[in-house]
């Protein structure tokens, strides 16, 4: 197994890992890479913090159905204005 990993690949694994989509081998490769690569360590920590911030429960989105409703109302109004 090739253990030495390029930074580009390491970042790619790190991105995947944020969504729990990295395989075990990927994770081992990444942690090995992080031992000696300072730039990727920084990227990894920033990436992790970003994930954590977005998972914060106070970050809310409008549900898809509500968005559709809003769009409909807006469209109706738009049609009235145009007519």
């Amino acid at each position: 197994m090739k253990l030495k990993t390029e930074c580009q690949e390491a970042n790619h694994i790190c991105d995947k890992n944020q969504y729990n989509e990295a395989s075990l081998i990927d994770k081992i490769k990444l942690s090995f890479h992080l031992i000696y690569c300072r730039a990727c360590r920084k990227y990894s920590s920033r990436n992790g913090k970003l994930s954590k911030a977005i998972k914060n429960p106070s970050v809310e989105t409008v549900s898809m159905s509500d968005k559709e409703l809003m769009k409909q109302r807006l469209q109706e109004q738009l049609n009235q204005v145009n007519n």
């Binding site: 991105d15 920033r46 989105t61 509500d66 109004q77 204005v81």
Partner: protein
Amino acid sequence: MSTNQIDPTKWVDQYSDYLFNYTIARVNDRDMARDLISETFLAGLKSMKNFKGEATERTWLISILKRKIIDHYRKTNSKKGKAEVHINYKDDESEGDWLEERVADPFDKTAEDSIENEELGEAIFNCLGKLPEKQARIFKMKTIDDFDTEAICNEFDITPSNFWVIIHRARTAMASCMEKNWL
């Protein structure tokens, strides 16, 4: 000629999440926030001809939303005044002798934390608004709405490696945008 164009058909996709987080931080009621945003969009539509293109669309919508929120405050306050029971101390002696008044407010401690958390949502969608539109939509679908990679690839007709490049760019941009205050 105006520098900023206006396009109401894109409002909901582009701004509703940002406006929602902005409103939630101030109104603290999801249903109310949703209604206020919906009203804001409609009001925006009606006064579209007043849009001079000096500000961006979003700034303009926020200024309408602010007025809606203030109206909402006024409404709730006028209701509150009627139901409120005012307690007046009858004489100086009994004043300040209530046990309840000595107890620390348990909500006070968390007040600051919750303010920070509420502003976080605004910051995220603010940064998201700075990304190119396609990048922002894909990032949002993947990260916030938890869609599968495959589903997103199908919808946008891109390959997985294409997808991960977009995600990578979005994450880098988001991280540097939020780094100053949040990361």
